[in-house]
Amino acid sequence: MAGAFDFVPAIAALPLLAFVISLFFGQYMPKRGAEAGIIATAGSLLLSVWTALTVAGITGSATSYNENLYTWVVGQDAGAVTLHLGVLVDPLAALMLVIVSLIAFLVHVFSLGYMNDEGETGLPRYYAGLGLFTASMLGFVFSNNLLMAFMFFELVGLCSYLLIGFWFRDDGPPSAAKKAFLVTRFGDYFFLIGVVGVFATFGTGLFAPIEGEAMHSFPQLAEEALHGSAAEAGVDTFGYDAQTWFTILGLLVLGGVVGKSAQFPLHTWLPDAMEGPTPVSALIHAATMVAAGVYLVARMYGFYLLSPTALAAIALIGGFTALFAATMGVVKQELKQVLAYSTISQYGYMMLALGSGGYVAAVFHLTTHAVFKALLFLGAGSVIIAMHHNENMWDMGGLKDKMPVTYWTFLSGSLALAGIVPFAGFWSKDEVLFEALIHGFGTDGALGTVYLLAYAMGLLAVFFTGFYTFRMVYLTFHGNPRSETARDPEPVRWNVKAPLAVLGIGAATVGLINMKPVKELAGAEIDFLHKWLLGPEEGGWPELTSTGLHHYEELLHDFAHVSASYPIGDEQTTLLVSAALSLGLAVAGVLFARSLYNEPEPVEHTDRLGGAKTLLMHNYYQDEYQVWLAQGVTVPIARAADKFDQGVVDGIVNGVSSVSLFTGSRMRRIQSGVVSNYAALMTLSLVLLLLVFVVVGGGA
């Protein structure tokens, strides 16, 4: 009986089939293609769960899978590179497959309520876009080499463009779609150079080695190059010192990550992407596509751990973005904008965790964030349906009595986001900050200082997170209704409430997978995620794929020189103090928001910030800055290049043709029409020919 791993490509192929069906036959289907999408994502979910069970060892024998399924370019010469498409399934990939397919399924069901019931048009295109996106994201998750990951990376970017610009006849969405595409493309440019660099350096882009074909992975080769020397490992570092070159490659790939996961400075596209339909925002811009960047770093973690500089960059970018976006979320007036900045900020936490060596923390936060952010976006979608697509929070109010399911699930998600115990966000965010703290104190030199700086920024962002989250909750659901629509909201149906309920329960309970403080205190072995990513002590999948936590911890210590130390007593006390600190700040933020906004008629207290508010409302003028870069810097360069292309390059080509035309126009005057001239020419030619024969043929 074939194992789950043989069906892994079908996890992506089913939504792709739904894409084709929706595109061509959606107009004939009663739900305009939703049926195909729902069935396909349900199938993907079942297959993903089966795969996860197989990886856990419950069904089937093998617990990891790494195969090249299709060779699409064969390298002919000895040193040439061969390009494959393949599948890699290890615990990280299996977890991500389940998350993505679950969220995709719930979003498809929600779309029935948000799009179909609201009478939207053009739905076959919408469901086709969702299907293609799901297929691309799932394909990205199980890619086994960097080039294949890049291909799917670009495909998800394309689907994001198509779906943001769904309502393309209005002014906003096409412009927002273009901005999203261009900003992420800018980052992807560096990513592409990094991919080429990796292939040129290592000859392979595999994330994990394939035993059967004796193919090494590039993290493995990089590690060997640092152990011995680059030449011994067969690695070409182009004249640079090996670690410097690996840092350069890591930073290049980071360009794509920063763009896709909306970190500073390429974060400007995500708030504008809220022009798309809310289910799209939930799926793409909360739970899955922006997770692609973070997932890529986690996938390549064995490579990033070899370079402390890259880790420092990741941590610093993450911590800074967390604080930066949280401050901007404080003043926003539209519901989805607050959530967009919240997304940027939370991905900053994941980057902070990855940079400071907290692999489990990052994956944990990725999981919990996917659940509660999708929940919050779907809840916002429910509110938007009720408010007849008016997103301004100042027109809402008092919705909690009229929309109880939405209110309670949204509250569950908000508590998770703010990081209040025992909801999911508390456990994951606390672990992120704890890892940053202990590695900051334990590591020597500049790296430790960077970690502590990033930790401080992340900690401060916790306060802001609690504040803006509950400002949003109080303004939307509490108080008196501030407009007619809020007094009489439109009811939502089961297809909206059911996904909200599922995710609401998830946001409350998914933290149970890795409650590290409880484990430390009570000694109970309940850190399931940690075990999941650690694998068996001997052999098993960590030995086969080198992507296990043991291996990463070794690399963290040996190459990145990162170690942990517990500044306040021993590990347990430090853990408790850190948890208390982050919980305290979160609760402080919540209470501050409650004191300001939990009134029947709240006012816009952020006006008291004065000039700071203007700065924050304009997003620190980052958008204007990027537009200036495009218009003031790029356009003149493009113009100069165009002049060169038209003047020199085209000029040479046109010059060749004009020479030909000129000589032609002169030469054709030989055709004078007078027969005697032709005869004269012939006779002269004959004379010349005879002379040639006389001379060459040896005379008479």
Binding site: N677, A679, A680, T683, V687, L690, L691, V694, G699, A700
Partner: protein, 127 residues
Amino acid sequence: MTSRPRLATDVNVVNGLAAVALFVVMGYVFVTASLPAPSGFPDGSITASIGYAMFGLVDQAAIESEGFLVAFEIIDVLLVAALVGAVMLARREEDSGVVTALTDGGRRIRDRNDSADDDAETDGGEN
């Protein structure tokens, strides 16, 4: 037309130099060639032998030759073709003027068609 013929002097002499050059070259080649002595014809009637050769009866010819029967027939066909061609080129068409090659962009045909209403029949060779 009744004056005595005069040497043509209004000709393009420059072109003629090419002919002179050709003669110089060919003359040089022929004069400096060393050919063996000509071997003349044996006794016998040359004309009769030519006749036999023309009809392919080579073995009855006194002087050796090749058979030219096929060429003779082909030349016959060629002469017929040349006669027919010459007559066709020279004839005038009955109703609409002469068979000419169009060198005026069809203006004559257009004029002829315009004036077809006026004239019942047109004269050929209008100048």
